[in-house]
Symmetry: C2
Subunit: 353 residues, 2 copies
C-alpha cells in the first residue's frame, strides 16, 4: 500500500483537543504497552529479514483486528522524512522510531489518532492510547481492549514469573508505561518546580520535556511517567500514579497559580498579555520561543485572564507551529529562517483579535 497522506495535518489530534477532565493542568493522558512476538528474537538480535516478517505479521493482524473504525498503516521506510517528523510532532511515533532505515511501521486509528501501534521501535509492538485531559481509566480500558484483541491473534512473549518480556528491563512485567503531559507554569514561575521534580523522583516517576526523553521543558510542559513495571499489576501501577502523585502535582500547580494571581497578579497578567501581544504581532517566531509564548497564553486562558482565545486554539497552535507541520501545510521544505516567517504568519492569522 503506497503512502497516501494517512495523517491530515490540518486536523487536530485528539490529545490536543483541550477537553476532558483537569485540562487546565493536564494536557493529555497516555498509556503505552510493550509487547513482543514469542516466535521472534528481540529487535537487538533480529535480522533484517526477521524484522521484515514482524512488520508483515503486525500489519496483517492489526488491520484485521477491528481495533478502530479505521486503521491507517504507515510503512516508515517508504515515508519521507518530513512525514515521519510530522508523526513525531503528533506524538504518534518516537524520535528514534523516525530515524534509520530498518523495516518498521506504525498503525494509527483515523481520524482521531487516539491509538497508535509502533512496530519495531524498541519492542516488536508498542501500543499507545492517548486522550485529551486526564482520564487514565478510560485510556486503560481502551488499551486493554486493543491488547486483548491483539493477543487473540498473536502470541506475545510472556513468562509466568516475570510477566510480559520486553527489550528493556524497565518494561518487563506489565510492560505498561503510564504518562501525562502536564502544564506547570505556576510551579515554574514560583520556583517550586524542583521540589516537585525531587518528589517525583523519590516515587520512581520520570519527568521529561515536551518531546519525551532528553527534550527540554519548553513552554513549561512536562511529561510525568512511571519508571518501573515489574512486580506490580497494571491496576496497581495506575492506582499509584493516578491516585497518589498526580493529584498532588495538580494541586500544587493550582495552588501556585492561585497564589501568583493573588500576590503578583499584575506580573502574571503582564507576562500573559505580553505573550499574546508578541504572538499577535511578531513577524519572526522561533519554535522554542513560540512554544514558550503559547505556554504563557495557555496559562492566561486557563486562569481566565484571556477570554477571547479558546484553549483549543492554543493547543492546536502548539502542534501546527512545529517544523514538520509548518512545512507540510505549505507543501514545501523550508529552512529555519523561512520557517520563522511562516510560523509567525500562521500564529498571527490564527490569533487575529
Amino acid at each position: 500500500m503506497p503512502h497516501e497522506d494517512p495523517i491530515n495535518p490540518e486536523g487536530g489530534v485528539e490529545w490536543l483537543r483541550a477537553d476532558g477532565p483537569q485540562t487546565d493542568v493536564v494536557m493529555s493522558s497516555r498509556i503505552r504497552l510493550a509487547r513482543n512476538l514469542e516466535s521472534f528474537p528481540f529487535l537487538t538480535k533480529a535480522t533484517p529479514d526477521e524484522r521484515q516478517r514482524i512488520v508483515a505479521i503486525a500489519r496483517e493482524q492489526t488491520l484485521a483486528a477491528a481495533l478502530a473504525d479505521q486503521m491507517i498503516w504507515v510503512d516508515l521506510r517508504e515515508t519521507p522524512k518530513l512525514e515521519r517528523n510530522l508523526l513525531v510532532e503528533r506524538h504518534l511515533i518516537s524520535k528514534q522510531h523516525a530515524k534509520g532505515d530498518a523495516p518498521r511501521a506504525v498503525a494509527v486509528s483515523s481520524p482521531d489518532e487516539r491509538l497508535a501501534i509502533m512496530v519495531n521501535e524498541e519492542d516488536h509492538l508498542r501500543i499507545q492510547v492517548m486522550r485529551s485531559g486526564l482520564d487514565l481509566q478510560e485510556v486503560f480500558q481502551q488499551i486493554s481492549e486493543v491488547d486483548d484483541k491483539l493477543e487473540k491473534r498473536m502470541d506475545f512473549a510472556f513468562s509466568s514469573r516475570f510477566g510480559f518480556l520486553t527489550a528493556c528491563p524497565t518494561n518487563v512485567g506489565t510492560g505498561i508505561r503510564v504518562s501525562v503531559m502536564l502544564h506547570l507554569p505556576g510551579l515554574k514561575l514560583s520556583g517550586e518546580l524542583e521540589k516537585v521534580r525531587r518528589a517525583a523522583k523519590s516515587m520512581s516517576l520520570a519527568v521529561r520535556g515536551f518531546y519525551g526523553e532528553g527534550s527540554d521543558a519548553v513552554g513549561d510542559f512536562y511529561q510525568l511517567s512511571n519508571q518501573t513495571t515489574l512486580g506490580k499489576t497494571e491496576e496497581q501501577i495506575l492506582e499509584e500514579f493516578e491516585g497518589k502523585m498526580l493529584p498532588k502535582v495538580i494541586d500544587y500547580e493550582r495552588h501556585a497559580r492561585k497564589k501568583l494571581l493573588a500576590e503578583r497578579r499584575k506580573l502574571i497578567e503582564d507576562r500573559v498579555h505580553r505573550a499574546l501581544g508578541t504572538l499577535r504581532h511578531a513577524r519572526l517566531l522561533a519554535a522554542n520561543e513560540s512554544l514558550q509564548l503559547l505556554g504563557y497564553l495557555r496559562l492566561g486562558v486557563a486562569a481566565g485572564l484571556i477570554k477571547d482565545v479558546p484553549l483549543q486554539t492554543v493547543n492546536r497552535l502548539i502542534l501546527l507551529t512545529q517544523p514538520a507541520h509548518l512545512q507540510r501545510a505549505l507543501q514545501k521544505e523550508l529552512d529555519q529562517a523561512k520557517r520563522r516567517v511562516e510560523r509567525a504568519d500562521l500564529v498571527r492569522a490564527q490569533l487575529a483579535g
Copy 2:
C-alpha cells in the same frame, strides 16, 4: 501671582507635534540664547537678594514685552517638585533648573510652549525656542525677534571684543546653542552610530541623550548641538550646523533605514511589530522600556510599516509616559511600581487597535 496650572499636561507640546520638515528623522529643532543683565554679577557670584531682583526684573520685562499671545510665569520656588519635573519632561526647563531652592523662574508661551525663558539657570536669562521637525531658520527668526524685544527693555552684558558675556565660557560670543533632537534607530541597528558620533565630535558638535547632558540615548533619540559660540556670527554657526553636519546625519540615517529594509526587512518588521504588540498588550511598562518600544514604533510608522498609528500619537506618548506626566494626569504621586501599571494602561488606551 500664585502658581495655577500654567501648563496643560494633556496638551501636546509644539515640538512633539510631529509636523514640519524631515520629521522622519528630526523630532524637533531648538535654539537657545544665553543673556545676562549688565547691572548684576553672574549667578556664581550673585547674592540671594540679587537673584531675587533678577527674577523680579525678568518677570516684569518678559511679561510686558509682548513676546507671545500669552506668556505664563512660573516661579519655581513656589512650584511643587512634581510640577517642576513636568516642565523638565516638556523640555521647558533643564534638570538642574528644577533643583535647589534659589530664586528662579521660567516664562513660557502658552499654549504652544514654543518659547521658554529660564531665569537664573546658569545665566540670568536663557531664552529657548523649539519647534517640531527641522526648521532652524524659522526658530532663529522667532528667537531673534524675542531677543530684540528683550534687548529694548534690558541691558545685556556685552563686550565689543567677545560679544555677549555668559557664565560659562563656551557660551561667550553669540551665546547661541543650536540643537536638534534626532531619531537614529537605523544607524543604531546597523552599528554605524559610533562613526557618526566621531564625525560629530570632530566638528565640535555634542551628542547627548533624550534629556540632554548626561542622559542615556534611550529609544535611539539623540540631541545634536554646537559646542562653541565664540568668534563666529550666529548666522555662521547656524549655517555650519544646518548646512554641513546635519544633512549628512539625516542622509546616513535614511540610507541605513533603507538598507535595513532592503536587506533585513523581516527582522525590522519583526522588531517594529513586536514593539507595537508589547505596547498594546503589556500590563507593566518601565519608563526606559516604554521609550525604547516607542522608538521602534516611531521607526515603523516613519518607514510605512505601521499604518494605523499616527506619528503624532507616538510622539505624544513619548511625553505622556514620563513619570511626572503620568502622575499629573492621575492627580497623585505614584511609586515606581504603580507608575508601571499606569503607564501600561495609558499606552494601551492610546494605541487601542
